[in-house]
Every structure is written in C-alpha cells, then in structure tokens.
C-alpha cells in the first residue's frame, strides 16, 4: 500500500513452535490512528512489540515483513534496530511508572532518547527535554525534570513516556494500552494529549487496546484480532455501524453504556480464547460463536473484502446483523 508508514505483512509469531500471531497484516498511514483490538491473549501486544523487535525471549518472529517506510525491520540487526527505536518509531507502554528507571530523574531519561541517537549533545538534550515538557503542557517543567518517577502520578509518568517517545519526532507511535493502568479521569486526558500531538505532527499511530470506548474516541481504522488472527478490519465508523464478524458484534454488545437499566447483567462472550497449542482447522471463534455452523469447524474462513476496505474473516458475515448491535 502506498503512503503507508507502517506495513505489516503476514506477521507470524511463535512460542515453542505454536503460532500466537498467525498472518497478521495491517497498515498505518501518515496521520492515521489504527486501533488493534482484541481480548487478553489474542496477540495484539506481542504484535506491537514485534514491530520494534522488543519481543520477550520466548517469542520468536517466525515470518512476515514489518515495513517502516519501506524498510523491513524484521531483517535488521541489533545495532540498526537500536537506531530505529525512539527515532523513527516509538512505543509507549501500559505501565508508565514501571517503564521509567526508578533511580534516575525523569529529565535525564527524556534526554537519553536524544543522546542515544547522537542527535544533540547532552547539555542541549536537557534543554530540549524541557521544551518538550512545555509543548505537552506540563506545568513547572524545571521541577519535573529533576523529579524521580516515584514522585509523579501515573498520569504524569505516562506524559513523560509520551515526551520520551515523541522527542525525536518519530514517524510512527505505537501505544500499547496507554491508559489501561490509569484512573478513568486521567485516561481521557492522556488520550486527548496523544491525539493532539500526533495530529500536529502527522504521526502514524498503532493503538493497542481492548477497550472499544477508547477505539470509538481515537481510531480512524480498526483491526480486530482473535486468537492470533485478524477477524475483521474496517474504518471505525463502519465497524461500529455494521460489524461483519460475530466476534466484533459481541465485543460491541459487551460495552456497558448509560442507557443500560440499573443492575441489569452486562453482556459477555461465553468461553475463553483458545490456547495457541490447541488451534486446529476451521474458524478459531467457532467454539464461542452463536452463528456457528458445520463449515466453520472444517474450513478456515479467509479475510474477504466487503468493499471500502471493510474485510472480515467469517463464513456468515451477512448474518452478523442478526446479532444486533447497541446503537
């Protein structure tokens, strides 16, 4: 796809030979926010780590290409990869406080992102770190720079992580559940900040989340993953209006909303994600799907384009409307 900042092609990740991510393809264009959605264990965070080659030791990159502006990150060596990280592509994590070295003032850690790439001299780096804090609207930046992570709130630590991630002006930002660990009131502020910053810089964003509310707030496009595979991909608008995969439809149905009667039961999807080692043939959602039929258990549904880039991997896409989606 032309104009894509990030283009993941048929990514395959394995743990002990079992595929935990199986044929993930997605692309993120300049200035676009793409949400990668799914429940715990579906492989979405591992896919995010794979882009920057930060996978845990147990997980291997077993196939596929990860093109960042045409350059395949999957084939880079350690040194070349270190040069990419933080400069061309950055990531912010789920646990902002734990992601900062507890023994180093945060200012030095921001400055490190610059000095690691030899962009500027250490003395200048601190000045740039200060400017970055000002630009993301942090008050009293001089004091913040000298503070340690334990002196800051989770929200403030995430702002510091955002400053670290964006200070070198990367083309791609990966946000791995950036607000999951934060208070609800802070979540909105952080999301707003991310959107504001990436819009101003035309940064491409891959947003990893399990929260359809966050998706609705932030995303231009959505990729829904289930058990290591793409279930559905579409514009955010289309996916909320007319999902074409039963998993997406049930995810949307499970969002609690204000119109719900008090004390009524929240909708859930019965069962759990199958283990990677137990994947057989057929659709992986078959065991939990209300629309399941014989064919689903025997043949793996391909990702089919239903027009306007709306793709779904389901034999019964046209019947998903029957499940009903809350408005």
């Amino acid at each position: 796809m032309t104009g894509a900042v990030l283009d993941i092609e048929r990514l395959r990740l394995e743990i002990d030979g079992a595929a935990v991510v199986d044929g993930l393809s997605l692309s993120v264009r300049q200035g676009e926010i793409v949400a990668l959605v799914g429940e715990s264990g579906c492989g979405k965070s591992l896919s995010a780590f794979a882009v920057l080659r930060l996978l845990p030791d147990a997980v291997t990159l077993a196939g596929g290409r990860i093109l960042l502006e045409g350059r395949d990150l999957a084939s880079l060596d350690l040194a070349a990869m270190a040069a990419v990280r933080g400069r061309d592509a950055s990531i912010i994590f789920q646990e902002p406080t734990a992601s900062l070295d507890p023994l180093m003032p945060v200012g030095e850690q921001i400055a490190e992102a610059l000095t690691a790439h030899g962009v500027v001299a250490p003395r200048v780096a601190m000045q740039r770190a200060r400017e970055m804090l000002v630009s993301i609207g942090i008050s009293d930046p001089d004091r913040r720079l000298t503070q340690y992570p334990f002196e800051l709130s989770g929200g403030m630590c995430q702002r510091i992580m955002i400053a670290i991630a964006l200070i070198c002006g990367p083309r791609l930002l990966i946000a791995d559940e950036p607000t999951t660990a934060l208070d609800v009131t802070i979540q909105a502020q952080i999301l707003h900040l991310i959107r504001e910053l990436v819009t101003a810089r035309s940064t491409a964003v891959l947003l990893i989340t399990h929260d359809m509310g966050v998706v609705a707030d932030m995303a231009d496009r959505v990729v829904v993953m289930y058990a290591g595979r793409v279930a559905e991909t579409a514009s955010a608008e289309a996916i909320f209006k007319a999902p074409l995969h039963p998993y997406t439809a049930l995810l949307l149905a499970s969002i609690p909303h204000a119109a719900l009667a008090p004390k009524s039961r929240l909708a859930t999807i019965e069962g759990t994600v199958p283990r990677p080692s137990s994947h057989g043939v057929g659709c992986r959602f078959a065991s939990r799907c209300p629309l399941v039929e014989d064919k689903c258990r025997k043949e793996t549904p391909p990702l089919v384009n239903h027009g306007d880039g709306h793709e779904a991997a389901c034999w019964r896409s046209h019947d998903v409307g029957m499940l009903g989606v809350p408005a």
Partner: protein
Amino acid sequence: MPRYLASRLLQAILTTFGVMTIVFFVMRLSGDPVLLLVPEGATREHIDALRRELGFDQPIWRQYLTFLAGLLRFELGVSVVQRVPAWDILASRIPYTLALAGAALVVAIGLGVPAGVIMAVWRGRWFERPIAAIVVAGQSMPTFLTGILMIMLFAVTLRWLPSSGVDGPQSVIMPAIALGMLSMSTFARMARIAVVDELGKDYVRAGLARGLSPGKVVTRHVLRNASIPVVTIAALEIGNLLAGAIIVETVFAWPGIGQLAIQAIQSRDFLVVQAIVLFVSLVYVAVNLAADLLYAGIDPRIRFGRS
C-alpha cells in the same frame, strides 16, 4: 535524611551495647580465669588475693557496671594474662586483620560482582557454565582446605609465595584468596540474581525502546538498580570475612585479631576477648551504617523517606 541518619545511628549504638552485654556475661559463664593464671599448687590465699586484685571477687552486677563505665571512657582494661592494656594488644593486631580482610574483600567483590553480571547478562551462553563452575567450587570448598591446597601448590611445589607469616606484601595474596573465595561466590550469585531480576523489568524494555543499546541499558540503568541488594550482601559479607579470618589467620600464621581471639579465649583473657568483640562489633555496625548511607545515596526513595 537527618532523621534517617539519626535513627540508624541510634540503632548502631544499641546494637553495640547489646553485643557487649552478651559477651560480658557469656565470658563469665565460661569459668574462672584466676584458676588458669595461678601456678599449680597455689594456696587458697594466693588465689583469693589475685581474684581481689583483678576485681573478680565483686558481685557480677558491680563488675558489669564497672565494665560499662570503662566502656564509656573507652577504657578496655588490662589483660589479666599479659598485664598490658587490652587495647594495646588489640591495636598491634588490627592492621594485619584489616589488610587481610580488605584484600579478601577486593578479591570477593572484584571477581564476584563481574562474574555475576556476566552470568546474568549473557545467561545461556557457553561461557556461563565454566564461570558457574568456579563459583560453585568457591562456595563448596572449606576455607582451611583451599588454604592448605594453595600452600601446597604455590608455596611448597612452585615456591612462588611464602607459605605463612608476614613477609612482604606478597604474603597477603594466598590468605586473601582463601578468605575471599566464599564471599566471591556469594557476590557472584547475588549479583547474578539481582541483575537477572532487573533485566526483566519494564524500564529495561522501555530503555531499549528509546534507542539505547543493550549495553547502555545495563550500564546506565540495570547495574545501579541491581547494586542495592549487592550492597546489603557486602555489609553482611564483611562480618563473615572477620569471622572467617579466625580460620585463615590460623592456617597462614597471620598475626591478626583472629589468631589473637583464639589465644585469648583459650587463656580466658576476658578483657582481651571483650576488646576484640567490641572492635569486631563496631566494625560490623559501622559497615552496616555505611551500607544504609549508601542505599540513600543510590535510591532517592530512601533519601526522601518513602518506600
């Protein structure tokens, strides 16, 4: 920070006081020193006269108060055996033990910590196994055995080093290795555990994510975080080195306080034993105090009084 310091100092004083009290009473449970001092066949009057002269005829609580009063003036009394101040006897031995323990500490930390860091950072590589083998060997060999084996190899067979005593700076090499081996293994294991533990933390991944090389992440972030448990071990190990010195000084005829301690205990020279224990416990307390200050230097959370 001043409060942290004050509370640590108070603890140090209390610890020293407690140790001295225990030693005072335990030594007096071990038997009557006067009987060992008098010549064989001494008369009852002679024994009583000596006992009076040395103050051992007083009730034990009064002896204890006299002892505490002496401590406050830093008077440790006079050796009942040699009839010279206990402190003078001790002072002549201290430099030897400090030299030995210091050299052993250099061996222990200088070899142990790098070995531990290497085993952690390159875990699973081929060279982790030989290093681990040396560490296990150091841990399982008793000090007296390593000492004697080294004497046989380097002094008797190869004639590179003096077998015992103090004869120039090279004399300290073998005793220091014998004494430092066990601590070296402890440092290696603790450093490995600490570094492996830190390497699994989120800030390591975040450091890589902002473009730091793995080496930079280790040197700039991991080592400092991993140093906190290692400092704890260092403080404890210095105590172990002083204890281990008793054996090593005997094996190598090293004229330090370990050797002195054995002689003084055998002759029930109470005041010298008390002086030795006071010195060792002061060293121990001072080292732990230094470790506490070092924590505060390393970790801002302690500096600012939060956990």
